[in-house]
Symmetry: D2
Subunit: 113 residues, 4 copies
């Protein structure tokens, strides 16, 4: 596979991982009590997948505190979640991130250099 | 099974259906364009399940419009979703509802008479 | 609330928790490497929810090994998952379980004594 | 943006859509009764997302019939699901597919020409 094709494949794989993360875990019950273990569990799920060489998932604690319901927890939402994934296909490495964009009201996913 | 046991089983089954609905579909991409078909699809999923005799799912269109991102849609959230399910076990019928509670900041599920 | 009503409410709440667990986490990437942390994360999510006094989630390791794909993991499915949840409403405690039923080909949820 | 960068972005976006589809909808209750509406609902969700110009989702009816439980339906699994998505970024169009691979026991996602 040539380098150009490898970069396309790596971009594709990075997209799969972020789309998967968001749509698998949005809705999950979360509070400050289990935010750590959820972050680690989500990272572990990304790392199992093909071509992933590193992953980082963060639940924003400030926003989490503000979102807590009367019952002491909330459902994980796009506002609270950010992630970074690094994939490698052949010789090409690509990093992609998920981050809430307040202006766009959107969990933006993008390739980064 | 006696009537008392039947009511407990029916309550249990109603709970399963609302918990399932919420956690299956929260996060789904939604706009005014596909809100109808999503409502029908969600109802169809509830109606397949054991003991369900009726179901109704509604996506709040006012809140939906306000939640729309710069990209013309949003992710289905607890704020937008309400549902009613009717289950029957033996001779006992039970109705349960899911409805966002603004004060509690919570997608409240409860048995109704 | 009288005891009869409390038992119905407890049954309802137990149903919510098992329906939620199944439909939130089915599809999650899992292997022997992250089965432990996933079990703990799923339990933590159940324990956050109202009225839950205990929860236990198990991923069947034998079935997991047999389900592993060429890429070294699989998607969490009903065949692999079992759970127990204990809820208390007022003075009434109820236990419910989720367990795959091979004959019925179904992730059976039921109240237990 | 140059054409090379556009192809990478398009590949990334295609990956997001397939990862999202799989992890949002796996677990959904499905039978022959609601397979049609589920397919349309899933396609509608893909079409809402940025850069998508076409999408097609198919639930394999033969496999569906064989997976049906004693209760007349099953949970949507990777074995049953296939999809195609076409995205366009700038001047570059990319098609990607999701298809179960029996040998690999895996819901393979790949870029196609």
């Amino acid at each position: 596979m040539d380098r150009k094709k490898e970069r396309e494949e790596a971009s594709f794989e990075a997209g799969i991982k972020l789309g998967a993360l968001f749509h698998q875990f949005i809705g999950t019950p979360v509070s400050e009590e289990n935010a750590d273990i959820l972050e680690r569990a989500m990272e572990s799920c990304m790392k199992l997948q093909p071509f992933v060489i590193d992953s980082e998932v963060t639940i924003n604690r400030d926003k989490l505190r503000r979102a807590i319901s009367e019952f002491g927890y909330t459902s994980l939402s796009g506002e609270l979640l950010s992630a970074k994934v690094r994939v490698k296909v052949g010789k090409e490495e690509i990093t992609a991130v998920l981050q809430w964009d307040d202006e766009k009201k959107y969990p933006l996913m993008r390739l980064v250099d």
